[in-house]
């Protein structure tokens, strides 16, 4: 396992927005981390990147094993050897991820120079190679452009190039296509999938879009209000969701040929961190909730097939 997160809990001051989170990412694999806003997806990304101190947070329990090393225990100085070099981040908004006053070529070059110790010429040669691989036409000319001269899709490719330039093993992509148009999103999603498989990278793909997850992810972890609801191989999860929340999330997406009135939302909203309900945090919105759900937190159990589930009344399928 390239990345293995075990029983991770995060505290920000006294609040505890994320608890007992476990998942793993293999090389050549994409793990989709999904959930509504406020479920703790981006916080997980920050924890893996060691960026929690920026928002006054800390890892209060659990391990983040990356290639055998527990990142949760490393001091900031040691983390710098990982961040950008072995673990790279692709953020949601390419408009703000790039420096507006530096030509984009240099923004990619600097990664090779800093992390791989390349000379300016070598770094540029690699940058052009990389941009060409990302199907950026006229890479040499694009290197000389400033971000505002490029389209949204092109900027996101540059952000991906920056992430790849340090030759990382793991990419954490936090909503990498949410700010893009659908036709461009489709291009970028496929590009990411190709890179992961061709280069044997691991990817943690954070998204709220079940369609994107179904399209490229091998494994899926569904988060709700800071806890793992269900985590299983993608095909099994979409075919037979076990957790009522997973099933409800899939049911929210309009599909071709759906009868009018058959699209159902999930009543209510994700509770805020300060108001997590007792028991299963999904129970106030859950159609299957019983009396026990309000009292007792369902334990995260290993499934006989593969994966994990935390629910007292799962939908039919294998359990326990």
């Amino acid at each position: 396992m390239l990345l293995s997160v075990e029983d991770l809990s995060v505290h920000i001051g006294v609040i505890n927005p994320l608890s007992d989170l476990s998942f793993g990412v293999d090389r050549g694999q994409i793990l989709g981390l999904v959930g509504e806003s406020g479920s703790g997806k981006s916080l997980t990304a920050m924890a893996v990147m060691g960026l929690l101190p920026l928002i006054g947070g800390r890892i209060s329990a659990g391990r983040i094993l990356f290639d055998g090393t527990d990142l949760a225990k490393l001091p900031e100085a040691a983390l710098r050897g990982y961040r950008g070099r072995r673990i790279a981040l692709v953020t949601q908004n390419p408009m703000t991820a790039l420096d507006p006053v530096v030509r984009v070529g240099r923004q990619v070059d600097v990664m090779g120079r800093m992390h791989l110790g390349l000379s300016a010429d070598e770094a540029r040669r690699r940058t052009i190679e990389l941009l060409t691989r990302l199907r950026i036409p006229e890479a040499q000319a694009v290197c000389e452009a400033y971000p505002h001269q490029l389209s949204g899709g092109m900027k996101q490719r540059i952000v991906i190039a920056i992430a790849l330039a340090g030759e990382p093993d793991l990419i954490v992509a936090d909503e990498p296509t949410t700010a893009l148009d659908v036709t461009v999103q489709a291009q970028i999603i496929h590009l990411l999938g190709e890179l992961v498989r061709d280069r044997g990278l691991g990817m943690l793909l954070i998204t709220h879009d079940m369609g994107v997850v179904a399209q490229v992810c091998d494994q899926v972890a569904v988060l709700y209000a800071g806890r793992l609801a269900e985590s299983r191989p993608a095909e099994a999860l979409f075919e037979h969701p076990l957790h009522p929340y997973t099933s409800a999330l899939i049911g929210c997406i309009p599909r071709d040929g759906m009868a009018p009135g058959s699209l159902h939302g999930i009543a209510g909203a994700v509770p805020s961190v300060a108001r997590y309900p007792a028991g299963c945090r999904f129970h106030p919105r859950c159609p299957r909730a019983g009396e026990i759900c309000a009292r007792q937190t369902p334990e995260l159990t290993e499934l006989t097939g593969a994966g994990r589930l935390a629910c007292h009344f799962p939908l039919e399928g294998t359990h326990g």
């Binding site: 659908v182 489709a186 291009q187 399209q215 999330l249 309009p254 071709d256």
Partner: protein, 321 residues
């Protein structure tokens, strides 16, 4: 057929940009000759990617901006001929719900203030009980009238935006990406609400979205725009696409089903700049079916059978493209 609620004829809107020290001003055509008819009670979807002119078209229809040329008739009234005062009277009959419920509500207004505003701008007070009725209609608790926007969730704010649009009992509501900033679970709630309001109040919607899947679910008829022009009008939500761009939009929408993974030969390239439109079909550079003719000549929107398409090489019915 009953008199259509909206008739738009050959709408054109030009914008000028730049033009400063040493820079030559540039002009772009945000909307290039769009004609559109919307019947009373109909839900018409307008889809396209950013920069296709869908929001500009909506603003032209509501006459929030004036067209460079062309005409809009609302219930037979030519909006271009109305004076300020007459326009105000017509405005009560048409409203808009905006994309971002965070920026479209004044942070210092309580919900009651927000819902009184559509009356206040006409120097009127809301009729007794109207605000409570509006809150009921959109599924907000009556005691929320005193709440400020920051105390509401995203979904509640969008409900407030819808209540505000309903305040003067309009006939037409333009919905400009009303769910784009909401979670999918909340999006479905809001779409549900819009459906039942339409049924109960006999509303007409112009639904603007980049999400073809959602539009196909919600709308009766679908207008597809690319770079300021209509490329296809699908007469029913389930119609098979004929324009290669519509096909590409459908192919770019991922179904929540890993069994249907697409080997995307998707579109290459990106939308050209509206400041520098190519001659011929605006889509030709990205189109898998484009021929020499497409690069030379712009196809007109033609509708032999009620399904209009602007393409020299449309996808035949039944063909799997």
């Amino acid at each position: 057929m009953a008199e259509p609620l909206i008739v738009a004829r050959q709408l054109v809107r030009q914008f000028r940009s730049g033009g400063g020290f040493l820079a030559r001003p540039a002009t772009m055509l945000a909307v290039r000759g769009v004609s559109l008819t919307v019947a009373r009670g109909e839900v018409v979807g307008i889809v396209g990617e950013s920069g296709c002119g869908k929001s500009t078209l909506a603003r032209l229809i509501l006459r929030l901006i004036a067209p460079t040329s062309g005409q809009v008739l609302f219930d037979g009234i030519d909006l271009g001929r109305l004076g300020k005062r007459e326009m105000r009277q017509v405005r009560k009959r048409m409203t808009m719900v905006f994309q971002d419920p965070y920026s479209s509500l004044d942070p210092r207004y309580t919900l009651s203030d927000v819902l009184s505003e559509p009356f206040a701008v006409h120097g009127e007070a809301p009729p007794p009980g109207r605000i409570a009725a509006l809150l009921d209609q959109v599924g907000l608790a009556r005691d929320m009238g005193g709440s400020y926007p920051h105390q509401l969730s995203g979904g509640q704010r969008q409900r407030a935006g819808i209540a505000r649009a309903l305040a003067r009992s309009p006939e037409l509501i333009v919905l400009d990406e009303p769910t784009a900033s909401l979670d999918v679970s909340i999006q479905a709630q809001v779409i549900d609400l819009l459906s039942s309001l339409r049924r109960d109040l006999g509303l007409t919607y112009l639904f603007i979205s980049h999400d073809l899947g959602l539009v196909r679910y919600f709308c009766d008829r679908i207008v597809v725009m690319y770079l300021g022009a209509v490329v296809e009008v699908m007469p029913a939500a389930g119609s098979m696409p004929r324009h290669p761009y519509t096909r590409a939009l459908i192919d770019s929408t991922f179904a929540p089903d890993p069994g249907k993974r697409r080997k995307l030969e998707a579109l290459t390239g990106e939308i050209p700049s509206a400041f520098n439109l190519p001659p011929g079909c605006a889509f030709a550079a990205r189109c898998p079916r484009a021929s020499e003719r497409c690069r030379r000549e712009a196809p007109d929107l033609q509708s032999p059978d009620g399904h209009a398409v602007a393409c020299f090489h449309p996808i035949e019915e039944g063909a799997s493209a």
